[in-house]
């Protein structure tokens, strides 16, 4: 690579704001102004694209119907809706988790499957009803591992382990959802903000 190109590539973006700042606010013509140019065709406005969640519904296909019902109840308990603030269900987090775990390595999939099955099993044993049908008090009994102090080593019990993972992931998936951000923008499509995303280089 020639140095000139290398320096140009490095300097261009950094220099641009400075060059703009140096530009005088108005141009003082040294010569009589040229005749006005023929009007150009207006530039097209920047195109506004969307994301799948804004215009379509997710298709769930990883968890069974019963596991999905358990997951939905769990999501609702972890991040309930509040006035003006969609909860995990409104943010379609169960559907998102179905996609995420369906895309995960087998070990993580197995953990979630056995964790959700275990939660359902405990609900049937303790209350003779599906976890999806438990009331808040019954559910809180089953979510007892979430009242244990945090430890670095994840619990051995798959239910406790999935509950700890869900507590983190459901929270992130809800807070980073389109729905939650749209609500925070007063019902308008959210714009701006976010972090620096590193593009793939090819």
């Amino acid at each position: 690579m020639r140095r000139r190109r290398f320096i140009q590539a490095l300097a261009a973006a950094q220099a641009a704001p400075a060059l703009l700042a140096q530009r005088p606010p108005t141009q003082q013509p040294a010569q009589p102004a040229p005749p006005p140019a023929a009007p150009e065709a207006p530039e097209s406005a920047p195109l506004d694209f969307s994301i799948p969640d804004e215009g379509a519904d997710p298709v769930s296909k990883f968890f069974s119907a019963r596991q999905f019902a358990t997951l939905k109840r769990l999501c609702d308990l972890l991040i309930p809706a509040a006035p003006g603030s969609p909860g995990a269900l409104e943010a379609r987090v169960p559907e998102f988790m179905d996609f995420l775990i369906g895309d995960a390595p087998v070990q993580r999939q197995q953990l979630w499957l056995s964790g959700l099955d275990g939660l359902e099993y405990q609900s049937q044993i303790r209350f003779r009803k599906a976890f999806a049908d438990t009331d808040a008090g019954q559910a809180d009994t089953l979510l007892a591992p979430l009242h244990q102090p945090w430890s670095f080593e994840p619990p051995n019990d798959p239910v406790a382990r999935v509950l700890a993972a869900a507590k983190q992931d459901v929270r992130t998936a809800t807070y980073n959802s389109f729905e939650r951000n749209m609500a925070a923008s007063g019902g308008k499509r959210p714009r701006g903000g976010g972090g620096l995303y590193w593009l793939a280089v090819e």
Binding site: L10, P105, P149, W150, D169, N181, G193, G195, W198
Partner: protein, 523 residues
């Protein structure tokens, strides 16, 4: 057109390779640099994106980077694809090999923590009897630290600590917040020093080889950089035993090429340089090439405390903010019973503790997080790892990367010295927090897997004895006079300090020696 026969072939363009180019080209030496990754425009390769636009809502593709646990969905593209360049390890001994393949290497993304090693590291064996000394001392390297620090614009505060030597700093004049002052007060009662984090300010958005070293090297007209050049092996003249260049493959097409040079300088990062040497079958008459792999163990968020004055809103705004650095304080004048050497911490005050630390869910959790906003104090422990022969890398001939180059098998685990040290570190940090009247919300003493720190070093170590080291004190192969290795693989011990300033200084020192030997025609 016949290819130029360069004076020096530099493999790698990060901190070590970049510094070699910077130093050699200024002395009129014509260099060819190969890097396995593409050239990038740091500005153009970033965009601002809200998390809701990310396909995985910020949680990241769950299958993509199993070993890069610090990766986020935002930066996933900056790390080496583990499927393209795999490596192996025993399932019971995970090693997180975190790599970057771009022109500029890891210096594009490093944490910028900028410290010198001390003679507690260079002469560690003299101090505690374990392992080996470096063949150099701080006195030998100090003149190079002195030159490197202004290039990277290291900001720090001079403290006169023997275990954390002062440097050629931009003086850090920032003040401590009241909460941190309280912490410093408790630490000083226990003879635990605290200073400001020493950090490279760089220029613009970067403190990298890409903007601080390579432009000057290119300006001399003596440097040619070829990106996307994946080096397979170093070639040797069978008659003389000297290296003659390297075979490489174009990253896109796989086309094989050979680059010729009078001298080869390896700066491809610790384990990639070692892999190239092992795949070349050279520089290993000692039998220690690939051995003595070590790094620094990290215990992240080892203690999470809550500063109650902030939660109760009895403290004024700004009471808890900022951070600091605790350099090693163990095994200096006294001797610990359970471990050799020592550890450092960095800490921050004024953050909000993570949701995972509260044994709650639903609305009570939201309420607790709101009540604890800005109340957090947390520390990360960075501990010295003993270099041992058993921790090593070797070639796994059963597996090749996307270019058909055999991969590394990595065998490394921490031992009782590291685990005992971690326990002591976390007990000490928790005690300091409690002495401040802070509530310890959570603590743990489990190091993350080896490699996590991205400070792996030691696999081509230097020494005074060709039977027990790969390189001499000038980073020059004992076996092959015109072969140099200038990255972190040359370390003998790593201490608890981040290694980049030392890598840069070693590379500058080795390159000056190389240039002088070339001038005298003694290579």
């Amino acid at each position: 057109m016949a290819a130029t026969n360069y004076d020096v072939l530099i493999i790698g363009s990060g901190a070590s390779g970049g510094m070699a180019a910077y130093t050699l080209t200024k002395k009129g030496i014509r260099c060819l640099m190969l890097d396995a990754g593409p050239a990038i425009d740091f500005q153009k390769n970033h965009v601002t994106k809200p998390a809701w636009e990310l396909p995985y809502r910020g949680l990241g593709n769950p299958s993509r980077l199993p070993h890069v646990i610090q990766a986020t969905e935002y930066d996933a593209n900056q790390w080496v694809d583990e499927k393209q360049v795999p490596y192996t390890h025993d399932p019971s001994s995970p090693f997180n090999w975190v790599r970057v393949r771009y022109v500029g290497g890891k210096s594009l993304f490093w944490s910028r923590m900028s410290f010198r090693l001390s003679d507690y590291e260079f002469k560690a064996k003299d101090h505690d009897g374990f392992g080996d000394n470096w063949p150099i001392s701080l006195t030998d390297l100090a003149p190079y630290y002195d030159q490197v620090e202004p290039i990277f614009r290291v900001r720090g505060r001079k403290e006169g600590l023997k275990q954390l030597p002062d440097g050629n700093f931009i003086e850090d004049t920032t003040s401590w917040s009241p909460a941190v002052q309280k912490f410093i007060g408790e630490a000083s009662k226990r003879n635990i020093p605290i200073t400001k984090v020493r950090s490279s300010l760089g220029r613009g958005q970067l403190a990298s080889s890409l903007n601080l070293l390579l432009p000057d090297a290119l300006a001399t007209g003596n440097l040619t950089i070829i990106p996307d050049a994946v080096v397979r092996d170093i070639t040797v003249d069978k008659n003389t035993g000297r290296v003659t260049g390297a075979n490489f493959l174009d990253r896109h097409s796989g086309r094989e090429m050979h680059a010729k040079a009078k001298v080869v300088v390896l700066g491809a990062s610790c384990l990639e340089s070692t892999r190239i040497l092992l795949n070349s079958g050279i520089a290993n008459s000692s039998g220690v090439l690939g051995h003595y792999l070590h790094d620094q163990f990290y215990v992240t968020q080892c203690v999470q405390a809550v500063i109650p004055e902030v939660r109760d809103k009895t403290a004024p705004a700004g009471y808890a903010s900022g951070g600091g650095y605790i350099p090693r304080f163990r095994n200096l004048q006294t001797k610990e019973k359970d471990f050799l050497r020592g550890y450092a911490f960095d800490f921050t005050a004024g953050s909000t503790p993570d949701a995972k630390f509260f044994p709650l869910y639903g609305k009570p959790l939201d309420d607790a997080l709101e009540a604890h906003r800005g109340t957090g104090f947390s520390g990360t422990c960075m501990g010295s790892v003993l270099p041992t022969f058993e921790n090593h890398v070797r070639i796994n001939k059963d597996l090749a990367d996307a270019w058909g180059i055999p991969v590394l098998h990595i065998q490394a685990r921490y031992g009782s010295n590291e685990f005992n040290m971690a326990k002591d570190a976390i007990n000490t940090m928790a005690e300091l927090c409690r002495a401040c009247g802070w509530e310890v919300l959570a603590r743990h003493d489990q190091p993350l897997p080896p490699g996590y720190s991205i400070h792996e070093v030691g696999t081509c170590r230097m020494g005074d004895n060709p039977k027990t080291s790969v390189l001499n004190k000038w980073n020059q192969s004992w076996d092959i006079k015109n072969l140099f290795v200038v990255d972190g693989s040359s370390f003998v011990t790593a201490g608890s300090q981040n290694p980049t300033m030392t890598i840069l200084s070693l590379s500058m020192r080795a390159s000056e020696y190389l240039a002088e030997q070339m001038r005298k025609n003694e290579l």
